[in-house]
Structure formats: C-alpha cells, structure tokens
Symmetry: C2
Subunit: 201 residues, 2 copies
C-alpha cells in the first residue's frame, strides 16, 4: 500500500478528466521528484487560479479579473462594443470559443453552454445553461449560431436548443459541414461526404 498522502493525491488526480488511477500514480511520483521551487510554482498557480480568474456574467468565458477595471463583470469579448451584438454563437466549452476566436472570422458574441445533451445520461440536460441562455434572448440578438460538435451528443443538443429557442423567433443557423480543408476525399466518411455534397457551392 502506498503511504496515505500519496493515496489521497492519487484519488484526487483520478477525478481529473481522462485520468485513471495508474496515470494518477504517475503524476504523484512525478511530483515527488520535483524541486521545492517547482512544487511551490504549481501550488501558487493553483491558488492564483480562482483568485485571478473571473467568469463573464454574459457568456461564461474565463477572464483575468485584473482586466475588469470598470467592474463590468464582462470578459474582453463581451466588453468590446465593436463586436456585432446581433450575433450570438453558442459553443459547448471554453476551448471551442478559443478555437473559433483564433480564426478571427467571427465578430459577434458567444455563449458557453457548459455541456451537451448526453442522451445516454439522465443528467445530460441539467449541465446545460438553458435558463441563462433564455435570459440572453431579450437583447439585440438576431441570429444564433449553434457551433456544436458534429457528434451524436452535439446533434441532440442542436435539436434541444432549436426547440428551446423557437419561441423567441430568432434566426438559428449551424456551422457548415463538409470536407475538412487539407483532408482527402478517400478518407472522408459517408456522412461527411453527404454533407459536403449537400453544402456544395
């Protein structure tokens, strides 16, 4: 049996996404080999995380609390008046927002759903910020872009959101489907090819 403090940390790391007990063990032995300076760096970064990071009250994106000089509670994207207030792009998670921002192609605002409709789990819909999303509908929004993953869960979430938002009469669109740029026709699956044919221009 490992010493108690090692077991405790293995247990905590095992709750991290994608981490099982074996990987958690490797993390702990890696940490045991760190210098005091490196360990303190990790602890300080963890302590700073919650203190320095705020969640945007509009889109739920994370942002540096220090940047919010005017105490608006809004992230840099939502504070930016030059962005198109008529567009709202709905993503599952923060990293999807980051990926879209990197393209520099979208100039509207976002809404982070916090989850997808996992049809295999009962609690699936509860993870979605449905009420918060409905609250956003009162504003200047004209078009809602559902930028969810082209997976079963993503599709189920699209259907769920379309029904949820129907009463507000906004235009609802989805990201285009087709062949990924740089991909080869040979390796594309049937569903992607069907979408590529339908979306031809």
């Amino acid at each position: 049996m490992y010493p108690k403090s090692i077991q405790k940390l293995i247990e905590i790391f095992s709750r991290f996404p994608t981490v099982g007990p074996r990987t958690a063990g490797r993390f702990v032995f890696y940490l045991l080999k760190l210098s005091d300076g490196e360990m303190n760096e990790l602890i300080a970064a963890l302590q700073g995380l919650k203190k320095e990071i705020k969640q945007c009250s509009f889109c739920f994106n994370s942002f540096e609390a220090a940047d919010d000089e005017q105490k608006t509670g809004l992230c840099a994207i939502c504070r930016d008046n030059t962005r198109d207030q008529a567009l709202l792009c709905i993503v599952e998670k923060e990293s999807d927002l980051e990926t879209l921002e990197k393209t520099k192609q979208y100039r509207g605002r976002y809404f982070i759903l916090g989850g997808v409709n996992d049809i295999l789990k009962k609690e699936g819909i509860q993870n979605i910020k449905a009420q918060e999303l409905k609250d956003r509908m009162a504003g200047a929004i004209q078009e809602i872009i559902l930028a969810l993953n082209p997976t079963t869960e993503g599709e189920a979430t699209v259907l769920y959101l379309e029904r949820l938002l129907a009463p507000y009469g906004k235009k609802i669109t989805r990201l285009g489907r087709g062949l990924p740029v740089g991909g080869e026709l040979e390796y594309a699956d049937e569903e992607t090819l069907r979408s590529a044919l339908e979306g031809r221009r």
Copy 2:
C-alpha cells in the same frame, strides 16, 4: 488567448507525464469548476506530499515520515528484520515495487533504480542510481533479482547492471519469462513463446 493564470497552469500540467497541452487545458477548466473546498483539498494534499513523505535511504521507496518513529530513515520494508537480507530485488520505479509487494511472494528487500537504460537517449544511464546500488553491495546480499520490464530498455538495463555488478560476485537472476497466466497461446508473440519453451518445466 487564454488568461495568463490559465496559460501558466496549462504550461505546468503539460510537463506532467502523458499530458499534452490539450489535456492540460481540460485539467484547468476542470479545476475552474471545482468548489473552493475541493480546490483547497488538492492544494493541501500537494503541500502535505513533500512534508509527509520521506524517501527510504536504502531502497528509495516513499514512506510516511510519521511512521519513522525511530528516525531510522528506512521504509517499513527495509526496517522489517524478518525480511531476507540476503535478497535484493532491483526495480525500475516505485509502482513496480508495489506490484511485486501485492503478490506477497517476495520476502527480501528492494532497490529502486529510478530509471532504465534508454539506449536512444544519451542521458539514459545518468538517471540510474548506479553508485548508490554499488554502495549496497557491501552488505549481506547474496542474490540480486533484476525485476525490470521485458522491453528493449529493460533488457539494455539488465545488460548494463550485469556488467556493473559483476565485480561483486553475487548471484544475479531475472524474473521468469513465459505465457502470462490467463493469456492465450494464440495471442502470444513469438518472443514470449520462445521464452515459454525455454522456461518449460
């Protein structure tokens, strides 16, 4: 771009074994969702790790510092006088020691090498506690069991250790090779089958 404190933590987690930047990002967003209590639990466990864990001065195994009432600097295994002092089992890492201990078949002592001879990397041999191992040879040890992984690196380490320890004239053995219990002949590779034939009894 993610806020600075998120980027910093992604950078630190990316140094963990098996973790890339994408997984590190998932860790950080998982942590952002934790309650204050859960975050403090993680920080306390990390702070406790180095304080509460000592490394055995003989075998380099980790042990609870509080267990060392007599301040021997030795882990519970090395402190146990009923264990056979004539046997020394050399393992690569702490989890290998744990795996062997669970079998309850071995009653000697251990030595954690801290690495293997990675023939593809120049620094391979430097990670191995070679001098410390040689220092252990002065004692009552009669047989050295090389319990390294049956991999290229493990084999290279066995050859390296056999040469390193030859001058001390101890008996050097390795773990038996053959079919894993519960495995099927059909799925065994050629090398395993050859070992199984050679080791038949």
